[in-house]
Amino acid sequence: MNTVVTLAKKDIKVLLRDKFAMFWIVIFPLGYAVFFGTVFGDSGGPRAGMYVALVDEDGSAYSQAVMEQLAAHDAVLVDAEESGALLNRSLDEARELVQKGQRTAYLRLPAGFGENPYALFGGASGDGPQLELGIDPGRQAEAGMLQGVVMETVFGALQERMLDTDTVLADLGEAQLSLAEADDVDPTQKFVLTTFLSALKGFVSAFDMGQLGLGTSDDADGADATVGGFGAPLAVVDVTRQRDGEPRSPYDITMPQGAVWGLLSVALGFGITLVRERSSGTLVRLRMAPVSHAQLLGGKALACFTCCVGSMVLAILFGTVVLGLRVDRPDLLVLAMFSTAIAFTGLMMTVSVMGKTEAAVAGSSWGLTMPFAMIGGGMIPLMFMPEWLQDISVVSPVRWAIISLEGAIWRDFGWADMATPSLVLIGFGAGFFALGVFIFRRTGG
């Protein structure tokens, strides 16, 4: 066992020093996932805009103004009726859409929202009606952005309202009235506020607010900063997305694809080093040491297996940290990575006997692995393939590797669903390995 580990460590070290191989194993797969993920993403993915369902329970002119401001925002998409009017949904309907992932979030404007627009300013929280944003807790980036956008639009609508002097005067009168009626306010404070409101009222009637420079400013940053300052008038409600086995982002598709390219590079890389060892004499030298045939191949296999797992872990880590990939079933992912690594380790063994020289192996092995990659969904995602091609793809280990990785990441697989791809992959691995060893021995190791 020590011998096998020593040999495996040696092989991994040699591979890590091969810059060319490392490019194909590390950089290329990540680049592939990012590049194609971004290309897909620009056509209708979440990056194109946040799709918001509107729930207007208030029905006031003010709530209408807020929704129109939101609809006009660049980063937001909302539904409109054929007439062009904004589509108003029930809360249940909107929540379901978000759960299904068909809308990024819903915005609820509760009844009474328009009656008290200044509740945003420091009214005891929970007191006045609040806006409600329903979104999946996993979508943190989008949630943050949406909060900013909503606050921005609310202030935008409020500004518009304040430009209308009559409305402001009415509002101030209302405020005075409610202040006079309130009996839970300290008399001194009441006096100060009443005086202030009277003064303000006189001030507003003497000037035209429009001349004060309160034009429409679209300063998103300012709006964002305001959110914290006014006692969180916007409530964020968790609406957990249902796991329905649909890809959540294009990276759900391109990341497993990229990972499989990395695996092919690992298999080819080790296959070629085995041939190099044969032709350079180090293989014979190892056999002169107390190393058996089985240990030699065991070392190669262990090294290849380790690097397969390593490259997958790297890809998935990169995906989760940088691309926002989420793994639904980490336990199934372990099984998927294990069986995938076995399949590609077997492939390595077959690749290594596909020629006598490095160049011959490099050439003929691409001839074997490229069709595997092409029909197995390494280039065109499986779901976009015509059905007959999907049927053919069962002969490609690439297909099963992608399915098992996707199964654990987003396909909503259970243990039973994972059994088939895992067994097929392990079978592929065993078959390829046996074939490789058979030829290896025949041609005199």
Partner: protein
């Protein structure tokens, strides 16, 4: 220590090793001398258990080196460089030390020793790819001795090496010899065999033609010595001289070269120079094969 009996290995029709038998005693230095293609490397591969013989057997103290564990006692420096160029000299040595079962402090100590042995201590952190040809050869040899083997097998360790490295290699092998390591050494340079080996086997076309001490080989197969004389003036045609005369040059084969030389010196013709050539392994090879070692 090593017993080789009726060893044979063919590649297709080619008999690379053909009925070879010899034995090597503990502490002895045994040379395999022969031209390229004689079958030396094939014999080494059979000794090291890398390939299986068609017939015959190899025994190391009674055990078969085709069993991995037996090979722990061997150190082999193959003719082809067999080091990992992507790795440093030190890493190469560590791998081979570990493969031969060294661990921990013992491994570190032996790796240091081997780096010193190869004169690579200063360059130990450099990748082998950056080494000169001679340094790679030295590393190749160091990898064979890092585990302190009882028996060291060197297959043409000085081929294609600059004179300085060649000397270094030669001296380090002599040092190992002095410390009691048994040695099997193949070469097509007879001078190396003559200088280093207690006994030498002459090999050609897969066959072992003779095996003995250098002196005994020369005694048995070297034939007579050669006496070369050059006269001041060409002797007359009727002069009573042995051998063949060519102008002022005389060549004589003789079993008693020094007596003949003395006689020529006393003779009637004035001798300008006189040379005696004792037979060497080259002559032995010529005698045994009808070909010169250098030409083949």
């Amino acid at each position: 220590m090593i017993d080789v009996t009726s060893l044979a290995k063919s590649y297709g029709d080619l008999r690379a090793v053909d009925d070879v038998s010899f034995c090597v005693n503990r502490g002895e230095a045994f040379g395999l001398l022969g031209p390229n293609g004689a079958g030396k490397s094939t014999t080494i591969h059979l000794l090291a258990g890398v390939i299986a013989p068609d017939r015959g057997k190899v025994r190391l103290d009674g055990a078969d080196p085709q069993e991995a564990i037996v090979r722990t006692r061997l150190g082999v420096s193959p003719q082809e460089l067999a080091i990992y160029e992507e790795l440093t000299g030190e890493e190469n040595l560590r791998i081979f030390a570990a493969l031969y079962g060294l661990r921990g402090d013992a491994l570190v100590e032996r790796v240091h020793w081997a780096l010193d042995f190869a004169g690579l201590t200063d360059r130990r952190k450099d990748r082998a790819a950056k080494y000169s040809g001679g340094m790679k050869r030295r590393l190749n040899l160091a990898c064979a001795v890092v585990h302190d083997p009882e028996l060291l097998i060197c297959d043409e360790p000085t081929v294609g090496v600059d004179p300085q490295s060649r000397n270094h290699i030669f001296e380090s092998i002599e040092a190992l010899r002095a410390s009691g390591t048994t040695l099997i050494y193949t070469t097509h340079y007879m001078s190396e065999a003559q200088r280093l080996c207690d006994r030498v086997a002459i090999m050609d076309h897969g066959k072992l033609l003779a095996a003995d001490t250098v002196d005994a080989l020369i005694e048995a197969h070297g034939g007579s010595s050669l006496v070369l004389a050059e006269f001041d003036e060409p002797p007359p045609a009727d002069a009573q001289l042995p051998g063949t005369l060519d102008g002022t040059q005389l060549r004589v084969d003789s079993d008693k070269p020094f007596e003949l030389a003395a006689e020529l010196g006393r003779g009637p013709h004035r001798v300008r120079s006189l040379r005696v050539e004792r037979p060497d392994l080259e002559k032995v090879f010529l005698q045994l094969t009808g070909r010169s070692l250098r030409d083949s």
